[in-house]
């Protein structure tokens, strides 16, 4: 397996690796607001690509285009070389079966139990009548995220982190080829975050799953990514492996990966501090 990873890595540098997802001149506007600006990139099969960038820079919008939950304003999206952004919903059902999508807030069906949530995609696509067999699959998927025994809980009774892990179990229920993770470690404690990182690596290593991980968490990004893409104002400003990003000369990249606030932001804070603190204090406290 290591040999294969090395070979793939070599292929990547030579630009010969097989692209499973590709965008060409992808532009997305919401009204007048430009969220994605002419993005052309390809996601290599069997690799983990991490998309980083400040909040609101279009990371989630980008991966929603991969699975055509959003349609581009301009440009095309391809899956395995086939254009998918112009397909109808019925045709997209077959494309989407190859994907697992972990939503930012989990998006669990709150009228269903944990087990029913995980069963949902299995029952929709595999006509498995044997309930024992389905129970076994649910148990195995929950065990992978450390939540076996929670089958009969409703999502409302779970904590935010538990909900996210159940959502991950649901995303991998169909053993998809590609998993899109929207902030998988946000809201988890550091140990659970690392378990999710290990799970992403395990899925890649053992099943050859292609992963695209949207994250703010640089520790997670460095750990799981074969390639890191940084978005800023709807454009790709950095693209390469972890070392490439660490040593990237762009000041915004350095500022983001080190979590440093910019001088402009500090200036705004200094301006607002006096107004926010002094103006509304009761006179007795002055």
């Amino acid at each position: 397996m290591d040999q294969m990873t090395d070979d793939n890595g070599q292929e990547n540098k030579n630009g010969r690796s097989e692209a499973i997802i590709e965008t060409r001149n992808l532009t997305k506007k919401f009204g007048e607001k430009l969220v994605l600006d002419n993005i052309s990139l390809s996601i290599e099969k069997g690799k983990t690509t991490t998309v980083i960038g400040p909040s609101g820079c279009g990371k989630t919008v980008l991966i929603k285009h991969f699975i055509v939950l959003m349609r581009p304003s301009e440009g095309d999206v391809y899956f395995r070389g086939r254009r998918v952004d112009n397909l109808g919903e019925r045709e997209l059902e077959h494309v989407r079966m190859h994907f697992g999508y972990l939503f930012q807030e989990g998006a669990l069906f709150d009228s269903m139990t944990v087990a029913e949530n995980i069963m949902f995609p299995i029952q929709q696509h595999h006509k498995i009548a044997n309930s024992l067999e389905i129970d076994e699959i649910v148990k195995a998927k929950l065990a992978m995220v450390g939540l076996d025994g929670f089958q009969n809980y409703y999502p409302a009774r779970l904590s935010g982190g538990q909900r996210k892990r159940v959502a991950l179990a649901r995303a991998i229920a169909l053993n998809p080829e590609v998993i899109l993770y929207d902030e998988p470690t946000t809201g988890l404690d550091p140990i659970r975050s690392d378990i999710i990182n290990e799970l992403i690596l395990k899925l890649e290593r053992e099943l050859g799953v292609t992963s695209v991980v949207v994250t703010h968490d640089m520790k997670s990004a460095y750990k799981v990514a074969d390639r890191i893409i940084m978005l800023h104002n709807g454009k790709v400003i950095a693209d390469g492996d972890a070392d490439h990003i660490r040593n990237h000369p762009h000041p915004i990249v350095q500022q983001f990966i080190h979590g440093q606030v910019s001088d402009d932001d500090l200036a705004v804070l200094r301006m607002t501090r006096s107004a926010a603190t002094s103006q509304f204090l009761p006179r007795d406290f002055e």
Partner: protein, 224 residues
């Protein structure tokens, strides 16, 4: 949906009963002035089965079922649950809308029958017990005037109203804006739009059924 249908029975029956009872009280004086109080049942029962039963039952259901559908689908929409259905390769229209539409199409006529029934009973109770109309005359005149056609029109209308409620409510749920305010607004719009479409459909269907009746009326007399 079964529960929504069953739980709607009491409110729909109460609506029907009050409509029948109110009609009896309101129309009695006019008819009694002309000595036609024994024909009160004709007026009440025709009004209930053709118009007021289906329309008011549908309005009640627009508030009850329509509001619940929009709130449920709207919340699913803003919490990305509908996107989750799509992301797993399932058509949300087929999975979420189709069963709700079907239930609404089938249940609204059934609930209308309950409203009609209670409207007829309520009207009769007030007419006979409170207003002192001869029971035999009341029912004879009613039976002679209200034909199967009239009842069928009412139930056919209810079928269309049920469709309108489900389509409007599901559409508003699917296009709901973010946040609690968005869901609230979608529910309000769903009810108002359902209400207006019920009234508009009622008018359109009244015209259509009248024309159909006029086409078949001469044939009926030939058969008889």
């Amino acid at each position: 949906m079964f529960f929504i249908g069953v739980r709607s029975v009491p409110v729909v029956m109460i609506t029907g009963a009050f409509v029948g009872m109110t009609l009896a009280v309101q129309a009695y004086d006019q008819l009694a002035g002309m000595g036609l109080e024994e024909h009160l049942g004709v007026l009440i029962n025709i009004s209930v089965v053709k118009e007021l039963g289906p329309v008011l039952a549908a309005v009640m259901l627009a508030g009850r079922i329509g509001g619940a559908l929009t709130a449920e689908l709207g919340t699913m929409n803003v919490t990305e649950q509908i996107d989750a259905v799509r992301s797993m390769g399932t058509d949300p229209i087929r999975y979420l809308v189709a069963p709700r539409l079907l239930a609404s199409l089938l249940l609204t006529p059934v609930l209308t029958i309950f409203a009609d029934l209670m409207g007829v009973v309520g009207g009769a109770l007030v007419s006979v017990l409170q207003l002192g109309i001869n029971s035999r005359a009341y029912w004879n005149h009613s039976a002679a005037a209200v034909a199967l056609w009239d009842v069928s029109i009412g139930i056919a209308k209810a079928f269309f109203f049920g469709g309108a409620i489900a389509v409007m409510s599901c559409y508003k749920g699917f296009t709901c804006k973010e946040g609690a305010h968005g869901v609230g607004q979608a529910c309000t719009e769903a009810f108002v739009d359902s209400f207006i479409s019920i009234l508009a459909l009622d008018f359109a269907l009244a015209v259509i059924f009248k024309n159909i009746y006029e086409i078949f009326w001469p044939l009926k007399s030939l058969v008889n």
